[in-house]
């Protein structure tokens, strides 16, 4: 492969006093530590009102009549609005994208019109002076419902006798994708062994500690909507609010201050949020909606409800010869807008088995409608499922032929020197490092030592297991993800950098801070490229009126895309500064550089002039510069990956755990992750992304499950009943890195936000099954609860 580092003049990774690769603490974390962040619920505006929603208590029911007369008279009530009234202001949407061919969904409204299709769908909005008053009034609303048959079970959603959720669609099949690569039938026919299994990932959800929230205000004098929103994608939301309220986009300003966790939950558009904006528009005054925890459970998107039948062919020598999967997923009654609910299954089809050399791959994904909360993209979209089944199948094959799980992986993983290459699904992979990563993991976890310990423990009746899970991960998405399908989601992002008169630098960016450290990473890139210390930099994000137009933060794109934009902006600003400095110093600008806040001689680093002096002259005394010269101390640069549709990353997780075979409880004894996210900009932040991601993945693996009754009633929608990982049970995680920079950018950084989450369920399952094998047990249903573990070994 070409070495672009030598091709790029003035490469950012060659900068003196570089912040790239340094564990710099996040400057913006200090306000949060002092309790001085600004989360959406902290925003208070004059004449503020609060909205609460009456939500459907039925999973599927027709609205016969609504009587709001008593509610309107309740103390403190400002307005009570029903679906048909809302529809006059806010138009409905359909969550489809053209590149997911055949995907269909029905028009969805901000407030249900005619019928409700899941328990939790907003039906009536009550605006009052306080949230409590709005809730008081909701109790006075009288709705006559006519219950409709409920489609709860995705397994029977397509049966002819199952009623249709949206009769106009003709069936309950939202989307189907089939893929057939290589010669699968021949491979299975000639295989030494074929192993079939069914893996189940149960539905779970994000549980952001800060619930969804939005404060909208409309000023009719300016025809201006100002919206404070806990979101990942301000420009996308600006576009959507403008479209569905029929306002010009530049009349909608979306401001995103601190966000209390998002993980994909806050990258979608939600009916109650459209309704809040529409209410502000209707009432011409600010309206605040802060979801409470109970409504969050039924109105936030859910994810990962998949049943996958798998089939793997393997030779006696351990060569994997074919993978076949049949994925069924239930997405709720609507495909979520605008990203759709087809992407998760699409990822499963695209990437299952993608790290292995096997070319024979057949996949079917069926995405069905049901009367449960809508499902959509959540951190590591699809990867927890596809890694679970891929690595489950590989272990199935290894067990069948009695081969060590490490050996079968070494035998079948795509060699590191084979890249660039293409997955059976056709997706191009630029440069991955499965073998190097696996090698490092084996060393870090002392694989052989653990195998020895495991054998000794077994002799004492203690059951320990080792799990391995290699993975690939989509990051730095280009327009292929959403833009090509028609979604108003910017694939490129920009950074605007401004040197002020005192030598300080303001950086405005399109990507947003969600706590992962986007602002810190951008500051590191900007400071390094320009040549200033980080304390001179202030980063501004999350305001559609101010920042460059951008896609926001999702798909592990903030560092890789936003960081590269900052690098290019920093370099360009440096060029502009040395140009004017050259005039002032009467020397060739190409002999100058900027280091540690000073213009210096490129050759020997001798200080020539402080940046503050450049600023002073350019802003206050431009009369001292030549008359035909205009300095430009503001630059904007954009970046979008162009060579590859995505920057795929890879890594491997390994864990060692002990199962109490009397209780089914597990104890982690070791947990190691080796991650390759290309250039590591900030090891401290990357490692914590991995750790936090792992624990979030362990939530799905061990605890989290949205339980529903046959009637589509969500049964465990409180934080006491829906279990998330807490401190006492979670392991420490060792993190190691291999760095294979993407050559698609100068910086070479790929994303790191989702790797931990994607691999965790698979590695836990494989470790459990390794531990349980001598007892004849195998778990395949996530979460792997004590009950399922005890059932697997016949203890109950």
């Amino acid at each position: 492969m070409p070495d672009t580092k030598s091709m790029i003049k003035d490469h950012v990774l060659d900068r003196p006093n570089s912040y790239i690769g340094r564990s710099v603490p996040r400057p913006n974390a200090k306000r949060l530590l002092a309790g001085r962040g600004t989360f959406t619920d902290d925003v208070k505006l004059p004449r503020l009102t609060h909205v609460a929603f009456l939500r459907s208590t039925y999973a599927h029911a027709e609205i016969v009549s609504i009587d709001v007369s008593e509610a309107k008279e309740s103390e403190g009530v400002v307005a009570v609005v029903t679906g048909p009234e809302m529809a006059e202001v806010c138009s409905p949407w359909v969550g489809v994208l053209t590149h997911l061919e055949g995907l269909k969904s029905a028009p969805q409204h901000a407030l249900a019109v005619k019928k409700a299709s899941w328990q939790g769908e907003p039906v009536v909005a009550v605006v009052a002076n306080t949230r409590a008053q709005a809730e008081d009034a909701i109790e006075l609303i009288d709705i006559e419902w006519k219950e409709l048959p409920v489609v709860a079970d995705m397994e029977t959603a397509l049966d002819p006798e199952t009623p249709l959720i949206h009769p106009e669609l003709g069936d309950n099949l939202a989307w189907q994708r089939d893929l057939d690569a290589g010669d699968v039938d021949t491979a299975f026919a000639n295989a030494d062994h074929v192993i079939e299994e069914t893996y189940i990932s149960n539905r779970h959800t994000g549980v952001c500690l800060e619930t969804r929230g939005i404060v909208a205000d409309y000023n009719p004098g300016e025809d201006q909507l100002t919206i404070y929103h806990s979101t990942q994608a301000p420009h996308m939301m600006q576009s959507l609010f403008a479209k569905h309220l029929n306002i010009e986009e530049h009349k909608v300003r979306v401001i995103c201050k601190d966000v209390g966790g998002s993980y994909g939950i806050k990258v979608h558009s939600y009916p109650d949020e459209y309704a809040t904006v529409a209410l502000a528009y209707m009432l011409k005054r600010p309206v605040k909606f802060i979801a409470d925890r109970l409504e969050s459970f039924t109105s936030d998107i859910h994810a990962r409800d998949h049943r996958v039948k798998t089939k793997v062919a393997v030779s006696n020598e351990g060569e994997i010869q074919a993978f076949e999967i049949d994925d069924l997923t239930g997405i709720g009654p609507y495909s979520v807008y605008p990203r759709t609910s087809g992407i998760e299954a699409n990822q499963v089809v695209n990437l299952t088995g993608g790290q292995y050399t096997n070319p024979n791959y057949r996949a079917r994904a069926q995405v069905v409608l049901q009367n449960k909360s809508p499902m959509c993209q959540y951190r590591a979209v699809g990867h927890p499922i596809l890694t679970l089944i891929t690595e489950g199948m590989v272990d199935d094959a290894a067990r069948k032929i009695g081969m060590d799980p490490l050996e079968i992986r070494r035998k079948n993983l795509v060699p590191d020197d084979a890249y660039p290459t293409t997955a059976p699904s056709g997706l191009p992979f630029e440069n991955l490092s499965h073998h190097a990563s696996l090698y490092k993991l084996v060393e870090m976890m002392d694989y052989d030592g653990l195998r020895k310990d495991q054998a000794e423990a077994r002799e004492q009746g203690i059951y320990r297991g080792i799990g391995l899970a290699t993975f690939i991960e989509v990051t730095n998405p280009g327009p292929a993800f959403y833009g090509v399908g028609g979604a108003p989601i910017s694939a490129q992002d920009g950074a605007t950098m401004r040197l002020d008169a005192k030598g300080n630098v303001i950086v405005e960016i399109g990507v947003t801070e969600q706590g992962q450290g986007a602002e810190a990473v951008v500051a590191q890139c900007a400071a390094t490229a320009l040549g200033v210390s980080m304390d001179k930099i202030k980063v501004i994000a999350g305001d559609t009126d101010i920042t460059p137009y951008g896609g926001g933060t999702w798909g592990s794109r903030a560092a890789g895309i936003g960081g590269e934009a900052a690098v290019q902006a920093g370099k360009a600003l440096r060029q502009n500064i040395v140009e004017v400095a050259g005039i002032m110093l009467q020397c060739d600008p190409s002999t100058l550089d900027i280091r540690e806040n000073n213009v210096v001689d490129l050759a020997d680093g001798n200080e020539r002039m402080a940046l503050a002096e450049v600023g002073r002259v350019c802003y206050y005394r431009p009369d001292t510069l030549p008359k035909d010269y205009q300095s430009e101390l503001v630059v904007t640069r954009h970046y979008v990956p162009k060579q590859f549709p995505f920057a795929f990353t890879n890594g491997v997780q390994g864990c060692y755990l002990e199962v109490d075979t009397n209780t089914g409880f597990i104890t982690f004894k070791k947990y190691v992750v080796v991650e390759d996210c290309g250039t590591v900009i900030n090891p401290l932040l990357v490692d914590e992304q991995v750790r936090g991601g792992v624990i979030q993945g362990l939530g799905g693996a061990l605890y989290e499950e949205c339980l529903y009754s046959d009637e589509g009633q969500f049964l465990n929608g409180t934080m006491a009943d829906y279990l998330v990982p807490m401190a006492a049970e979670m392991p420490d995680v060792e993190v190691g890195h291999v760095e294979s920079p993407t050559l698609d950018s100068e910086l070479g950084a790929k994303g790191a936000g989702e790797a931990g989450t994607g691999g965790a369920p698979a590695v836990v399952m494989n470790a459990l099954n390794d531990a349980l094998e001598p007892l004849g047990g195998k778990v395949t249903i996530q979460p792997f609860t004590p009950e399922r573990i005890l059932q697997a070994i016949g203890k109950i």
Partner: protein, 286 residues
């Protein structure tokens, strides 16, 4: 969600509380630590017209040594009990159970009396009282009466305390010489309500147990005293055979239920596992 509106009273005597209770009847509710009541109000699952805050009744606070018993005022916070030398010396079972009750911030606020009065079948303290033959002091318009723990917990969230009465204290016999206590529970996460739990108490002579009490929680509508298992073990050495006999007897003692977190089958399995653990722990030589 915010609670429905209510009125608030903070009386300074038990008599005042009783007066309000008789005036408001079902419409009133008593607020002690609030760690169970307030969540239900915040979900509008309960919406009392009047909340009677008894935190002003200073004489319901504290732990006192009453000779052969300890008296614990109903308003005594969990944290005080957790750190009490008196409790650790004379009712060690309670000390053993405390760390399993929720989390520090909850234990700072939650009260012993509130936990007992709430009678949550998954709560630790009611089972401990059953194991220790504690007595619950109830005060009503007709005066003060005491009920032994096993008769106090009637049904799911139902106790012997009547509508116009309040729980004012708990009395626990001091542990006698030669007796030991043990406590364990199985919860998905630290501080969660248990899937199954057990409080055990017995006279221990080498590895022989007598006067054994095994009180389970989270296996039925109330704490369950496993009388069959207890008698299967009575006077026996703890060994594989006696443990198995006690475990088998649980089939007659317990009628576990299914819920979101755990099946009845798993509960029974856990009850047996915990029984084994407790018998082993009680008989373990120091």
């Amino acid at each position: 969600m915010k609670p429905a509106a209510f009125n608030y009273a903070k009386p300074s005597s038990v008599e005042e509380v009783l007066g309000l209770l008789s005036e408001y009847g079902d419409e009133a509710t008593i607020l002690a630590g609030g760690q169970s009541l307030i969540p239900t109000m915040n979900m509008r699952l309960s919406a009392p017209a009047l909340v009677i805050d008894i935190n002003g009744l200073d004489n319901l606070n504290g732990i006192s040594d009453e000779g052969d018993r300890l008296r614990i005022g109903a308003l005594t916070r969990h944290v005080e009990i957790e750190n009490s030398e008196l409790i650790a010396s004379h009712a060690p079972l309670i000390t053993l159970a405390m760390p399993s009750i929720a989390h520090p911030a909850i234990r700072n606020r939650g009260t012993f009396g509130g936990s007992v009065a709430m009678a949550d079948p998954a709560a630790e303290l009611p089972a401990c009282l059953c194991a220790l033959d504690g007595e619950i002091e109830i005060t009503g318009q007709n005066g003060v009466r005491k009920v032994v723990a096993k008769d106090f917990f009637k049904e799911l969230y139902e106790t012997d305390a009547g509508d116009g009465e309040i729980l004012t204290a708990i009395e626990i016999p001091k542990i006698s010489a030669g007796y030991r206590s043990a406590f364990d529970e199985l919860a998905r996460r630290h501080g969660d309500y248990a899937m199954c739990g057990i409080a055990a108490h017995a006279k221990v002579d080498r590895d022989v147990l007598s006067d054994l009490r095994l009180a389970f929680f989270a296996v039925g509508g109330t704490p369950v005293i496993a009388t069959q298992a207890m008698s299967a073990m009575e006077g026996k050495s703890v060994d594989d055979e006696s443990i198995f006999a006690a475990q088998s007897a649980l089939e007659d003692d317990l009628e576990p239920f299914d819920d979101l977190h755990c099946s009845a089958t798993l509960r029974m399995h856990y009850a047996k596992e915990l029984t084994k653990r407790m018998l082993t722990t009680l008989s373990a030589r120091n």
